[in-house]
């Protein structure tokens, strides 16, 4: 990540009195600048503000890896115990978890089973369809 900081020089004592007209902007008049700058360059401790600029290289959600949802849809033909069994076999889940997802499919029409990379999601859909379940993968 490219760091971009702003170095701030501390305002010298009395500088405000000497340049009231420039107080609001914090700018130094030419005489003050000519006097103080050589000294300040040698003695002032620079204060670095945190970088508040957006880094376009990393702060972009569109460049994160897309996830795929593996969804099982309800149908009136697959037996409830069968669906529970298939979830256990394909995902290695305990019966309790498999049953929760089966009931979600039954009651709500669908259940998001896992969110995975494209390859893994595709693998799971293949496995579920080998058991003739109505499963698809959708981009998250």
């Amino acid at each position: 990540m490219q760091r971009r900081g702003t170095v701030l020089l501390p305002r010298p004592r009395g500088a405000a009195h000497q340049s009231n007209s420039n107080q609001d902007t914090g700018a130094l008049d030419s005489c003050t600048r000519a006097f103080y700058l050589p000294i300040m360059a040698a003695t002032a401790t620079p204060e670095v503000r945190p970088d508040i600029d957006r880094d376009e290289e990393t702060d972009s959600s569109t460049k994160l890896e897309s996830g795929y949802l593996v969804i099982c849809w309800n149908d009136p033909v697959n037996l409830m115990d069968y669906v529970t069994h298939v979830f256990q076999v394909v995902f290695g889940w305990q019966r309790q978890k498999a049953k929760v997802h089966m009931l979600q499919v039954h009651n709500e029409g669908k259940s998001v089973l896992v969110r995975e990379s494209m390859e893994k999601a595709e693998f799971y859909v293949h496995q579920l369809q080998k058991y003739s379940l109505h499963a698809t993968m959708e981009r998250d």
Partner: protein
Amino acid sequence: MKLIRARKETFVFAISPQEKSLLDEVLMLYPLISPAHHRLSRKSNVVQPNDHQRLLEESLAAQRELNRKNVQAMLEKPGHFQTTAAGQQLTVSGPEIEWLLQVLNDVRVGSWIALGSPDPESDKKIAFNKKLLPHFRMMELAGAFETVFLDALSGP
């Protein structure tokens, strides 16, 4: 048909001659679901949908071929069925039950599709006629055998 013994991944079922005949009838129908029935996605937002859909169909075709060979072996080489004094017995392992479940459910879902994919909870009811009755019979038979195998796997 009912489970009489389960030991070390081996399941022994008592099966009557009529039940064996019905099981054979169901298994012989496999495969019923068309390869194009399964879709990878409901939307078209999956990258290169055609390639991925083709991959799915190839994967399912390979599985179908393997299951078909298993079914053929079970029907032609009746080593799984023994006749004892108490009647006929079917002996299968856990992995064999897995492919049997896939086969039975293919016949169940395939029969349901042949019936017009009826849904009792919607207006899509079965319009019974002589032509559809065999599909209904097979759907129910496949489901009945599935239930026996699932009960065996889930234990007492």
